[in-house]
Amino acid sequence: MTLPFHPDISLLLEGIPHPAMILNTGFRILSMNRLMEAMTGYPKQRVSGVHGELVVRSNTGNARGQLYSHVLQTGEAASVTGDVLNCYRRKIPVQYTVSMLRDESGGKCGLLVIAENIAARQHNAKTGKGDFNSIELIGYSPKMQKVFDMIPLMAQTDASVLLTGETGTGKDKIAEIVHQQSSRARFPFIKVNCGALPLGLLESELFGHVKGAFTGASRNKPGMFKLADRGTLFLTEVGDMPMPLQVKLLSVLDDRKFVPVGGEESIRVDVRIIAATHWPLREQVRNHTFREDLFYRLNVLHVHLPPLRERESDVRYLLDHFLQKFTTALGKSIVGFTPAAMQSLLNYHFPGNVRELSNIVEYAVNICKKKKINKEQLPTYLFDKQLQENRQNETVPAKAVEPIHPTSNRSDAGEDRPTEINGSSWVDIERQMMVDALRKYGGNRTKAAENLGWGRMKLWRKMKNSGLLQ
């Protein structure tokens, strides 16, 4: 596309938030921004016309301008991690990116060089464990420490990673951190849920399609593999991937190229794969529902995330963290849990792991009106399950649990016993709270609203939203 104007190159360079310079085809400096002047220690006027590598002295395989020549010949941008030694005798770690510039006629006219200072990123990677807290990855148990120890190792390689663990154990977070700490951090991190889409759609989603490939394909679509080029593709629920697609995925992993749906030309990509599943993949391989060769291809670096019940020492830290998070978010002044509430939480086995724990704390913080969360402010299903377990242990048959009813205008509910909540979403929990409160006060909305700490209008609105009113 031809621009309707000719931008001032110097001003354009100033708009880049990293040290940047433009070289001509002989690799001499044409222009550089102030950040590049500051990094190298040379003012633009003094080094204009000098070979770029003599000024930006890097160790990125650019001796005698080899990297520049490669980019100019192939036209493909290169991005290398290394350092720059400036005239103040300081080594600065950089992500050195060289890309080719073309003029309006399409001819090669020079190179754009960006030397992003990655000192801060490297510092973060070195300081390691403590920093995971800021991204809600909390764990002091030995099993989690082992996982944390693996993160830097996974980050410094391009090998495929397989993350396994129950739902809610933090597979997505680990994948994101590995990407953020890797040299691919500045390129896209794309997540694809392999279990969410049917075969045809998933194939088109992953590999893209060309215009006219199938009915409704009115334009070319690049696909997630293409979009994640030079970055990371996170395939979650890979165990649910249909068999025919597993073959195609395997071939992409082997050849690093693929053909879009309905296309003829293969596209070359440089993508790092992180796969995750909550299924035991080995078992799936034995049952012939997952390809063995793909399993071994993905299982280069395997990390198993322990369920919360195996990291009991972390529960208190997680409770404190989420309590603080939700208290701050909701502007409340809750300081903690009563001993009885804490004991109940510690006794609970959290089948939904950290996600469930977070939801429980969010629920409790929402309905707590005091300084400390007590037992009554915890979701009732917590105790029902404990009760059921106890009953099962005592070999007494469990009483059938009353389901949620669509309307609340039941005056026959004289009992105060809270009802089992089947879903763990906040909407379900809130709905059940309303049902319980209305039942308790015989359908009196004013009293129910008061009990919930809401206004009458708010209760009416929420009842309407959750289908409790016709």
Partner: protein, 118 residues
């Protein structure tokens, strides 16, 4: 008599001291070269080996491109006069060093110059 060491790369002073593999050693006295310049090709780049070489060869002067503070301080401590961050064709640099007119951080290339090979 003084002894000058210049890490070089092609026709230029090597951009980085720690990555240089070609070393030029020149003996000079009263602004004139004594004998022929000596070129050493190192097996692999190493700033530690270069510093050691400077000490063993009794180098009194050194001209280089980028050098780390640590190695600069070491050489200065070993009484080597170091002119660093110099950019230019090593022959011109050598002439200016002999004449005593080279300064630290000098750039001896101009935009309209026909530049030799890096």
């Amino acid at each position: 008599m003084r002894k000058l060491l210049i890490p070089i790369q092609g026709d230029f002073v090597a951009p980085r001291f720690d990555l240089a593999t070609e070393i030029l050693i020149v003996r000079f006295e009263n602004q004139k070269m004594v004998g022929e310049p000596k070129t050493i090709i190192m097996e692999r780049p190493s700033e530690e080996n270069l510093c050691q070489m400077a000490v063993e060869e009794n180098i009194t002067d050194m001209v280089c491109g980028g050098i780390e503070e640590l190695h600069y301080n070491f050489l200065v401590w070993k009484k080597v006069t170091v002119l660093d961050a110099v950019i230019g064709d090593w022959r011109t640099v050598l002439d200016k060093t002999l004449a005593g007119t080279l300064s630290q951080g000098e750039i001896l290339i101009h935009s309209d110059d026909e530049q030799p090979m890096l």
